[in-house]
Each structure stands twice: as C-alpha cells, then as structure tokens.
C-alpha cells in the first residue's frame, strides 16, 4: 500500500514537472511575440489602432515629432511575420500600399536595414532617437522603450 502511494506521488510529481516544462515553453513562446520599440523615452506606449495607423503610413508623427520607421530586409521572415500579424497583409500588398504613398508624394517608405539581424536594427534605432522599429520582444534590450507588443495571431 505504502509503495503504491509512493508510486502515485512520483506520478503526480512527474506530471507536474511536465506541466511546468510545458508552461515554461508556452511562456517562452509568448515572449517571442514581436514588439515595436524605440530608443527615446519621449514616446510612450501605442494603442493597437495607433500602431497599425503608424505602420500603414496613415500617421507620420508621434507627439508632434516626425518619426522614421525601420523595416527588416524585404523577403525576411521577420518582415513577413510582422506585417501579417499586425495588419494581416502580405509583403506584396504592403509594398503596393506603400507605392500609393510614395508616388502620391504623401509619404516616404520605412528605412530598410541592410542586414537581416536584430543587431543591425538595434544599431540603427540607437543612433536615431525618433526612429521606430520592431523585433522579437525577447531580443529587445532593456534600454529601449517598448511601444506595443503585437498579439501573436491577431490577424492570422
């Protein structure tokens, strides 16, 4: 009987450990959401609507300051995922949309980092206080201000 109880406890503990591991994996997955961030403390958090308006080029200023948007290289997984999750649109549709702004004289496209990695994004943002970029939240250093975390699968 006592042996049975020990086995039962071990079983419970085993399940608990597995559950803990799963929850930790889930937590990591949540941390891997994409976040919009900047180097300045002047800008505060963005609402979902404002983040979308910003990356759609509908607004060009925050707190009356001109901002510079930063994109990952075309064709990169990060760029595709970002626009898909934030706006529910493919890179081609976003490009077509941006063409409307550029070729009507109503806006400039985001700057594009040359290298397909976070360090290139970080370097650019660090050097330009009014620039706003995006990256995996887990990668963004604490010195930056996170403006908005894109809920995973919001537009999927």
């Amino acid at each position: 009987m006592r042996r049975k109880l020990i086995r039962f406890h071990l079983g419970i503990r085993g399940i608990a450990v597995i559950l803990l591991m799963l929850s930790s994996t889930f937590a990591n997955a949540k941390q891997d959401q994409i976040a919009i961030f900047t180097a300045t403390k002047v800008f505060t958090s963005l609402s979902s609507g404002k983040a979308k308006m910003l990356f759609k080029g509908r607004i060009k200023r925050l707190n009356n300051k001109k901002i510079v948007l930063l994109d990952w290289p075309n064709g990169s997984k990060m760029k595709k995922q970002f626009y898909h999750e934030l706006l529910g649109q493919s890179e081609a549709r976003i490009n077509a949309y941006r063409a409307k702004l550029v070729f009507s004289g109503k806006g400039v496209p985001p700057k594009i980092v040359q290298q397909n990695n976070y360090l290139a994004v970080e370097k650019y943002i660090k050097g330009r206080p009014n620039s706003i970029g995006y990256a995996l939240k887990s990668m963004i250093s604490k010195e930056f201000t996170i403006l908005y975390v894109v809920p995973a699968g919001e537009n999927l």
Partner: protein
Amino acid sequence: MKTNYLLAILFALTTIPSSSFASIEVTDNLLFSAFGSTSITQSDNKTPLFMNRNITDETCYDCDSTLGLQLDYNFLDNFSTSIQVIKAPENDFSDPRIEWLYVGYSYKQFSTKIGRLRLPIFLDSEYAYVGNAYDLARPPQEVYNSVLGVTYFDGINFTWEQELNDDISLTVVPFLAFSGKPKATIGDSNYHFELHKLLGTAIDLNGINYRIHFASAYANVDTKVENKNVPINFPTTNSSIYVYSLGGEYNLNDLLLKAEVFANNTNTLNWYSQVAYNYNIFTPYISYGKQKAQSKSHSITTGIRFDVTPNISINTEYQYTKVDEYSKTFTTPMGPMPAFMGAGMFTKPFVAGEKEDANVYTLMFNFIL
C-alpha cells in the same frame, strides 16, 4: 522596340532576389524611386478604345507603356522637394513630361507645396500611372477619364492633417492653380485649355482598413477644340466647370471593396464599383462601371493580379465595354454635323461596319522600385 526595352528592365528586376521597394536611398535625405507598366493588349473592334491608349483589334505592345522616375529630397528638417518625370501611355519615350515638381514645407500637422502638383480629384488619381498600386490593369476608365486626362496643375496646396482618434485621421487639402494652358488629345481632337481659375478641396478620412475621399473643384476656363477631320474650331470662353467626386475603399481581411462616383455641372455622372479578394499571390477582381455623359456606356472588367515578387505584378484581364446611347450628330451654329468624337470609351467615331461594343484582352506587367 521601345516597349521591349521596358520589358527587359522588368525582366532584369525579376532576377534581383527580393529587390527592395521602396526606392533607392542615394543619401540619407535623397531618395530615388521608379515605376512602370507595359502590356500586350487587343480588342475585337477596329475603333480605338480608351483615352490616350487607343486599343484596336491589332495586338498592341505599347498602348499602356508607362515609365516614371522620381527623386525626393528632404532638407533643413521641414523642407522637401520632389520631381517626377513620366512617360505616360500617350507620350513617346523620347518625349516624357514633368508630372510634378514642387517645394514643400511642413510644420506640425500643417504643410504646403508649391510648384507643379497632381490634381487630387479621385481616390487613386495621384498615383493613377502606378499600375502596381491598384488591382486592375487600368484605373476604371469611366471615372478616371472624366477630366479629359488633365492630371496636374501649376499652383499651391495646403494640407492639414488631424488625428481624430487613434484609429482615424482626417486630411484636408485646399488647392489653387495659377493660370495655365493644359492640353489634351482625344482621338483626332486636340483640346487647348486656358485656365483662368482653378480651386478646389480634397478631403480624406483614413481609418486602419478604409479610406473615404471627397473632392470638389471649380475651374473657369477657355476651351478650343481642333479636329483633324472637321475644319472648324469650337472655342468656348469663360466656361464655369464644377466637378465633384466621392470614393471609398474598405479592406475586410482579404476582401477589398471599392467604389467611386464623379459628377459635374454638365450633367455627367460616372461611377464604378469593384470587389477584389487577395489569396496569397493571387488577387482576382471584378469591376462594373457606368458612364452617363454626352453618351452612355457601361463596362464589366474581370481579371487576376499576380504578385510575382513584392515589386512586380502581372494582370491578366478581360473587359467588356458597350455604348448604350449616343448621338451620331452634334449641333453647331452652322447646323448639325456628323459627330467627330468617340462615344463611351471609344476615342473616335465608329469605324464603318463596327459594332458598338468591344471585348478587350490584356496582359499587363507592372513594377515599382
């Protein structure tokens, strides 16, 4: 042959892996952008179709050829200047035109531009030559040909941009033209305008998934029409023209709904509505347009846009257009004369024996850089 050069450029672009839109950053402040379109198109009617494109029953390789080059330069924080040179379908490659050239200044939510500017009458009129920016192979002709192909003015505009809340922004753009002498050619007719006054306002309400555009304009203009086949001029002086347009587009996930209507004080009422659905690289669409002006016509357009790369798209399109009502004569001080202008979307009087409708087939290539 010239079209082949453009095709070669397009092909070269397709070979650049994930070539980037937008633009080439020459320096931090200087941006170079380009766009272009070319097509293989044919109708089943000998009578030329569509203003400035003149598509007939012969396979045409350069009826839609368009190439645009643009330079944008920002300086002193709040100033900008921009030039756009285009070879529109009606221009030769050797005879491009300056579509815009301006200096701009912005302060907070206000900005102004002075110089040559695009006429902001329609939803897509400021980028109507950029085929990659919209779904159809050509902007709906019933509406976009309503202002006789006049696309720019020399003058000044002011812009006021206001965020109404986090999800909606409002843009109001009053504009005023200096005097000018724009020209237009439709079929065998040359239109010479002398602009005494042009003023108007464009208003845009922008949401995350929609845009509503309203524009109104007033022009006081002298017009002289010359026709190769009719040996008289038809001058009109001090005509007052009022135009109004209202359009909207709405994105419902992958579905795009769009409609636009144009009216003026000479009893013109043109409109279209369209539906497109984006699935991966494919965007099938259908559009219906109607024109009620000196003649009445309607058209139905259907096709598929393929986004070959983020910068290059191809349209395969079929369009049916039919003239429903038109006058074979027109009245002059000397009495009735045979009509010298085309009816509906046709740019010349019907070729003898031709019917009053046409089926148009188009394969269009577009790129942006």
